[in-house]
């Protein structure tokens, strides 16, 4: 009985996780890059490139999924009366934490969403990264328990709350119109995408579902260790299971398929285990300090949370830094400054963790 009532209280997030995981796997069959059906970090990086903030020619495209996430959450928040313009809880710190989340993600090559999709596509480097993510979350919890927080947000005007949704509409217009100043990859991951309307529809659906369920792929691990709460993780596990099963049903494994089990020769992946661990560890600690994974912050930015909006801008800036300053890795392995940037990120998070304690 207890098990059944426990599952019933989680039925919506489990259902959402199942659909999200299925779509995440199928998005590859429908046109997105291998093991990258959905990757919030990679897609923000592609947008950063599409706008010309970095010039890595293979990762430039205004991914409509991202606009869908935020705008789906925006409409849903309005419909369910959860639109609350607010902000002012250490935005500058959030900006830099957002940058370092992106640095960590682009050293591993994926956000926590893609990490699970990589695992569901046989890429065992996802396991190393998962261990790192959990390690980073646990370090973040150590600070939370010591009283770490980024201060209080205050209510803001509708104008302030609308800035990010309006920016997302603007990005969508640019993605549709593609004026000459927008960069568009001709080869590599940035040239692989689903039809715009499909990307947008999936994004809007995920924005709706993630807003309602509070789906968060960092909060899930945090809540297990912080309060023994298994609500969010049940959605994450449903996501992983659905993606794995879908990949088998779709014929993505085996002869003629695109995936195989192992560490080597995985799509858009490398085997620098220590830096996969510490890179995703940096995502874990920084995202725990911000209060959520990149998807969650996109959703919150659509609900009027301007602090989350600043974090999203930090991700975009972080992607530019990662590619302009030879930090982002590639299937060939580490880049010149990958290690230095990950260590700088860890140092930043530890200093923030020890010094930011408000009543």
């Amino acid at each position: 009985m207890n098990l059944i009532s426990s599952l019933m209280s989680k039925k919506w997030i489990i259902l959402f996780g199942l659909i999200f995981g299925t779509l995440g796997a199928l998005a590859v069959n429908w046109g997105n890059p291998a093991n990258m059906g959905i990757c919030v970090a990679c897609f923000l990086r592609d947008i950063s490139g599409g706008l010309g903030f970095h010039r890595a020619a293979v990762v430039q495209y205004l991914r409509p999924e991202i606009m869908g996430f935020a705008l789906g959450a925006f409409v849903t928040a309005l419909a369910f009366k959860e639109w609350r313009p607010r902000g002012g809880a250490s935005p500058i710190i959030r900006f830099f934490l957002g940058m370092f989340v992106m640095v960590g993600a682009l050293v591993f090559l994926g956000c926590p969403v893609r990490m699970l999709l990589r695992l569901a596509g046989g890429d065992l480097n996802g396991l190393t990264a998962l261990a790192g993510l959990v390690f980073g979350v646990i370090v973040g919890i150590f600070f939370l328990k010591r009283g770490f927080n980024l201060g209080k947000a205050k209510p803001m005007t509708n104008t302030a709350g609308s800035i990010m949704p309006i920016m997302m509409v603007g990005l969508l217009v640019l993605a549709i119109a593609v004026p000459a100043f927008i960069f568009q990859s001709e080869s590599g991951p940035g040239s692989q995408f689903m039809p715009l309307i499909v990307s947008l529809a999936i994004g809007l659906f995920v924005g709706f579902g993630a807003q309602r369920t509070r789906y968060c792929s960092v909060g899930a691990w945090r809540d297990i260790f912080l309060v023994k709460d298994f609500y969010l993780i049940s959605g994450i596990l449903a996501f992983l299971a659905a993606a794995l099963v879908t990949n088998y049903i779709a014929g993505n494994f085996g002869a003629g398929g695109i995936y195989h089990w192992g560490f080597e020769n995985q799509p858009i992946s490398h085997t620098e285990h220590l830096w996969n661990f510490l890179g995703m560890g940096l995502v874990g600690i920084a995202a725990t300090q911000i209060g959520g994974c990149p998807l969650r912050n996109l959703i919150l930015s659509g609900e009027g949370d301007t602090d989350a909006g600043v974090t999203v801008l930090g991700y975009i800036a972080g992607a530019a830094v990662a590619h302009n300053f030879a930090v982002a890795t590639s299937p060939a392995g580490l880049n010149t400054w990958s290690i230095a940037a990950v260590l700088a990120g860890w140092a930043f998070c530890l200093i923030i963790g020890f010094t930011m304690r408000k009543a």
Partner: protein, 72 residues
């Protein structure tokens, strides 16, 4: 008197952390948690139920007040 925990303005997971701390510092006592987001209402409600409290939620203007009463 219920122990008051005002977490208005704090974003996830700080409301949960502060409520949990108040539980640990005031075992067996009633808690009154004031918050301003639905997400915190849900998170604190789950924490309360998982920790053996009966949870009542009411809206108070723009805010939400959760009363957590120990069940034992």
């Amino acid at each position: 008197m219920a122990v008051e925990v005002d977490v208005r303005g704090y974003s996830c997971p700080v409301p949960v952390v502060k409520t949990k701390k108040a539980m640990e510092e005031n075992p067996g006592k009633e808690l009154k948690v004031i918050t301003d987001t639905q997400t915190s209402v849900q998170n604190v409600t789950r924490l309360g139920k998982n920790s053996g409290y009966k949870v009542d939620v009411r809206e108070d203007g723009e805010d939400f007040v959760l009363v957590l009463i120990p069940e034992k």
